[in-house]
């Protein structure tokens, strides 16, 4: 009975694992929905901000602002957004790979880099690869809050204005849709200059007045637009992490199902052959007695 019993024991433990992965899948699904709602709710802000920028640019306000100015890159900052937890497929390692590629590029160009990492997984992975990490955050989970992101953004804006950094890149997972997420590095500073809205059936009466002036509004609007883009990176990262975990756990659950099936088959076969063996022995005994 030894082999059959061992198979049964393995089957039981695989069943337990399946229970856990299925639960994790359900939790990730629920969290994903919530994170998705937040991300959708935040889209309005970005949309309105962008349209306001377009309108100002359309008026032809001379847009020169320190945040738009492209300087030669001497010192740069990189922000890496990973998860605090694993068991989410290639989510964390993809971002780390992206970040390492960028860091390697800066290194070969001999540009000084300041690295900040959010998420325990990324902190561990980068430390393992010998990257010096200046700042770490572990408080961002599936619900990043604007109030928590704002100080980080503010610090970058100040560093940029003071000339301590000439460029800021964020390595994160962009969320294109439930079927597609992609680890990317995106340049957030200097900002891309706003483009004028192009003839979307605008009337001449759409000429805006500005209080107090287009220039002073732009001065406030550009930092706000940077903040909203940074916040969007955090939101995207949170949604993508949940999707990645959902997919990984779904695959794990299915795998466990397959494993249980093949274990059951092997177990049944082992038990049957054992029974057959016993019957053969008995029959052999009977034959022997007859003679």
């Amino acid at each position: 009975m030894a082999k059959a019993r061992a198979l049964d024991r393995r089957r039981k433990s695989v069943r337990n694992i399946r229970k856990i992965t299925r639960t994790m899948e359900l939790i990730a699904t629920a969290r994903f929905k919530k994170a998705m709602d937040r991300s959708v709710a935040a889209r309005d802000y970005t949309k309105h901000l962008a349209s306001m920028l377009e309108n100002i640019a359309a008026v032809g306000a001379d847009v020169d602002h320190p945040l738009l100015e492209i300087r030669p890159t001497k010192r740069t900052a990189v922000l890496v957004l990973t998860g605090n937890r694993g068991l989410c497929g290639g989510y964390n390692s993809n971002i780390v790979r992206q970040a390492m590629a960028l860091l390697g590029q800066w290194k070969s160009e001999q540009v000084g880099t300041t690295v900040a990492v959010s998420g325990k997984r990324g902190i561990g992975a980068l430390k393992f690869r010998g990257v010096e990490v200046a700042e770490t955050y572990t408080t961002f989970e599936d619900k990043p809050e604007y109030a928590a992101v704002a100080p980080i953004g503010q610090a970058y804006l100040e560093a940029y204005a003071a000339g301590e950094i000439d460029r800021l890149d964020v390595a994160y997972t962009r969320f294109h849709g439930i079927a597609k997420q992609e680890a990317v590095t995106e340049m957030l500073l200097p900002l891309a200059p706003p483009e004028a809205a192009e003839g979307s059936g605008r009337l001449a009466s759409d000429e805006y007045d500005f209080y107090p002036s287009a220039r002073s509004i732009l001065e406030e609007l550009l930092p706000a637009s940077f903040m909203s883009r940074l916040f969007k990176c955090f939101l995207d990262a949170a949604v993508s992490e949940q999707v990645a975990r959902m997919v990984a756990m779904k695959a794990a659950t299915e795998n466990a199902g397959g494993l249980i099936k093949s274990l059951s088959r092997a177990y049944n076969r082992a038990r049957q052959s054992q029974i057959t063996g016993e019957i053969m022995e008995i029959l052999g005994g009977v034959e022997a007695l007859k003679q």
Partner: protein, 141 residues
């Protein structure tokens, strides 16, 4: 859409980075611009303005007249074709403000000492914002 003067209004939207706080039809909206308040009714000329700290007061048209007040601190407003869009980093609906905590916050900010021009500016701004919150909370009671 019915366009009779009684029912037609202006669409008023208040958004923060996290969510849309308010999206209602309004008869008139009073906005706290940086240098003073400004009322917006139907057919107002389009403008974009910078907001200071204060209350956005909205008189709605649906059924009975009700006034919403929302505290906003910094941000922008875009008025175009009977649509008022307020974009702000922080918005607190008046019914969620608590007078007790608001007064405490104001007292705490007032009692802090500020040194240097920047710190003094920051303190004055915070103080003004806190005062506005207290005022709105008082009115909401």
């Amino acid at each position: 859409m019915a366009d009779s003067p009684r029912t037609a209004g202006i669409q008023c939207v208040i958004v923060t980075p996290e969510t849309t706080i308010l999206d209602v039809k309004a008869r008139s909206v009073v906005l706290p611009l940086e240098d003073g308040q400004r009322g917006v009714g139907r057919g107002h000329a389009p403008f974009i303005g910078r907001l200071g700290a204060g209350a956005v007061r909205i008189t709605t048209v649906d059924g009975r007249e009700a006034v919403h007040s929302v505290f906003v601190e910094k941000g922008f407003v875009e008025v175009s074709h009977d649509v008022v869009t307020v974009i702000t980093q922080r918005a607190l609906p008046a019914e969620k403000l608590d007078l007790g905590t608001a007064r405490q916050d104001l007292a705490a900010i007032s009692s802090q000492a500020a040194r240097g021009d920047e710190a003094i500016d920051a303190k004055l701004q915070a103080q003004q914002a806190a005062r506005e919150i207290v005022r709105i909370a008082e009115r909401a009671r």
